[in-house]
């Protein structure tokens, strides 16, 4: 569905992507992780056509984002980290903005708004940042676009709202849709994503299905010296030791992806993890 071919991009002298090639498929929820300044937001902006690659090509479905074709924009929605909503009530948003998106589902929107407890009688200027964020997430999800991009969607959400976000996202599975969620809050994504992408200064260093990862790597607490010795990654956690090890017997039961640990492991022990996930 999405193809990036030898994409080069830089901000002035600072190179962000150098000959970056990748493909993304519909029906998946991608979790995009990376350190600050490694180009997560840039990746989303390139896909949305907000910025243009210096070299290389990007195609999203039948469109090239840099052409900014209206039919392309109809089928893509970006929830940016810093967003702007007009100072209107939710019904005005629906009346004047929803018609731009032909697959917009009003029932879904009502469900999300109710689930998120967004006050519909208020205008957006009367809402808190978290409420506005929940409103724009609801709108974005209801547009049913083939590509949904979310940049730090859980920033500004309180603990309850984060739980609501997870709840809502669990109901969004659409085999025709590709969702890319960029975040620093790895914990917020653990149970939602189907594929993990990790970016660093060299480009995409990991792009794997969650199932494949938990099949090949085991995330566990252990005090076993032998296990600690052969672990790919070790971390002390409140008088315990958290490990990522290569399982001896597969499949491993009760193995749950720990995104934060995986991210740290990939960043600190990139070659080892990459080699064993091949």
């Amino acid at each position: 569905m999405i193809q990036l071919h030898q994409v080069c991009f830089s901000y002035g002298n600072k190179k962000v992507y150098d000959s970056f090639t990748m493909s993304l498929q519909k029906g998946s929820i991608y979790g995009l992780l990376g350190k600050n300044g490694t180009g997560k937001s840039t990746f989303l902006k390139l896909l949305a056509g907000l910025i243009f690659p210096d070299k290389g090509t990007i195609s999203v479905g039948a469109f090239s984002p840099k052409n900014r074709h209206p039919d392309f924009f109809k089928d893509i929605y970006l929830i940016p980290e810093e967003f702007n909503l007009p100072d209107v009530k939710i019904d005005a948003l629906l009346k004047y903005y929803a018609p731009f998106y032909p697959k917009f589902d009003k029932m879904k929107f009502d469900y999300y708004i109710k689930e998120f407890e967004v006050p519909i009688q208020h205008t957006f200027s009367q809402m808190s940042l978290g409420q506005k964020k929940k409103a724009i997430i609801s709108f974005g999800l209801s547009c049913n676009t083939s590509l949904l991009l979310m940049d730090e969607p859980t920033n500004g959400l309180d603990i309850i709202s984060k739980a609501q976000f997870k709840q809502v996202m669990k109901h969004t599975h659409n085999p025709e849709q590709c969702i890319i969620v960029s975040t620093h809050q790895a914990k917020d994504l653990e149970s939602l994503i189907t594929r993990v992408c990790i970016i660093d200064e060299q480009g995409m260093i990991l792009d794997k299905n969650v199932e494949e990862i938990i099949h090949k790597l085991q995330f566990k607490f252990s005090q076993d010296a032998e296990e600690i010795e052969r672990a790919a990654y070790v971390e002390d956690y409140m008088n315990h030791t958290k490990l990522i090890i290569l399982p001896i017997h597969t499949p491993v039961l009760d193995n749950k992806l720990d995104l934060e640990m995986l991210f740290k492991a990939v960043v600190t022990n990139k070659q080892f993890i990459q080699q064993h996930l091949q």
Binding site: A48, L50, F52, L78, E82, P86, D87, K95
Partner: protein, 283 residues
């Protein structure tokens, strides 16, 4: 063609734009009304007898229209320089051409119609009040002449921008068609320049637009002055009356040149640059 323009999409864009900005525009209209209203009162208080001469009404119309239109246009595309607003604006599923047309719609015809209405709402009572003051003065000045009225009282008329503009009776009068059209083209071009400034400059766009306009005009004026001084201007343009005085020649030549440039489409050039800037804008 559908990729560039679709009427139903354009209609949605115009309405969504109104929904988003109506409060801002209404505040602008109220502020403009207030400034024009108090400006009119000040002029009446200074000397109400001559406040509604046709020349002054035309001058006020052109001055207020050009100034307010430049202020309005000078902030119109500032969204493009704001990260969050710019993202929303660009990603709205319409073509850049439709967004540009919507910009033109609000800044040119809609603004002109609203401004003209505001002007007449103020001008009609303004002229009536000025006539009242003039008539009182007329009565007072003639009461000393023992009822001998030497001249008839002639009230001022509310100007009509579209019917009563005089023909070329006086080339330098502000009440001629020629002057009206010249002001109109100058106004449109300045508006286009301010619109371009709002799209180009990230911070303090309005101030930077004014400063850049001054720099360009200064360069152009000095250049023209030197050209005239060194007799590089085509002869037919230099007025015989002033040929011995380079500075005065330059002044007239510059005025003619500016109007000529505005007429042949300096404004269109600014609009084209703005369109391509919108098209290529990265956020």
């Amino acid at each position: 063609m559908q990729a560039y323009f679709n009427f139903s999409r354009f209609k949605k864009l115009v309405f969504s734009h109104w929904t988003e900005y109506k409060k801002r525009y209404l505040l602008f209209v109220i502020a403009l009304f207030g400034i024009m209203f108090f400006g009119a009162i000040c002029i009446l208080l200074v000397d109400g007898r001559y406040a509604a001469s046709e020349e002054l009404q035309y001058a006020l119309f052109h001055f207020c229209w050009i100034t307010s239109a430049c202020i309005f246009s000078g902030t119109f595309l500032s969204n493009l320089n704001d990260k969050s607003k710019g993202i929303t604006y660009i990603l709205l599923p319409t073509s850049i051409f439709e967004k540009f047309l919507c910009t033109l719609l609000y800044t040119i015809p809609v603004f002109f119609i609203v401004f003209t209405l505001l002007f007449y709402i103020i001008d009609i009572p303004y002229v009536a009040l000025s006539n009242y003051i003039k008539y009182q003065d007329y009565l007072q000045s003639h009461s000393n002449n023992f009822g001998q009225y030497n001249n008839k009282f002639e009230p001022y008329k509310v100007i009509s921008l579209f019917y009563d503009v005089q023909h070329e009776t006086n080339l330098y009068s502000i009440t001629t068609y020629r002057a009206f059209l010249q002001f109109f083209f100058v106004g449109l071009s300045l508006q286009a320049y301010f619109l371009m400034g709002s799209a180009f400059f990230k911070k303090f766009a309005f101030v930077k637009t004014i400063l850049s306009a001054f720099v360009i005009m200064l360069f152009f004026t000095v250049y023209t002055f030197l050209m005239v001084k060194n007799n590089h201007v085509p002869e037919r343009i230099v007025d015989n009356y002033f040929s011995a005085k380079p500075f005065i020649d330059s002044y007239y030549w510059i005025c003619h040149a500016y109007v000529w440039y505005f007429k042949i489409g300096l404004g269109i050039l600014f609009y084209i640059i703005t369109f391509f800037h919108m098209k290529e804008k990265e956020i």
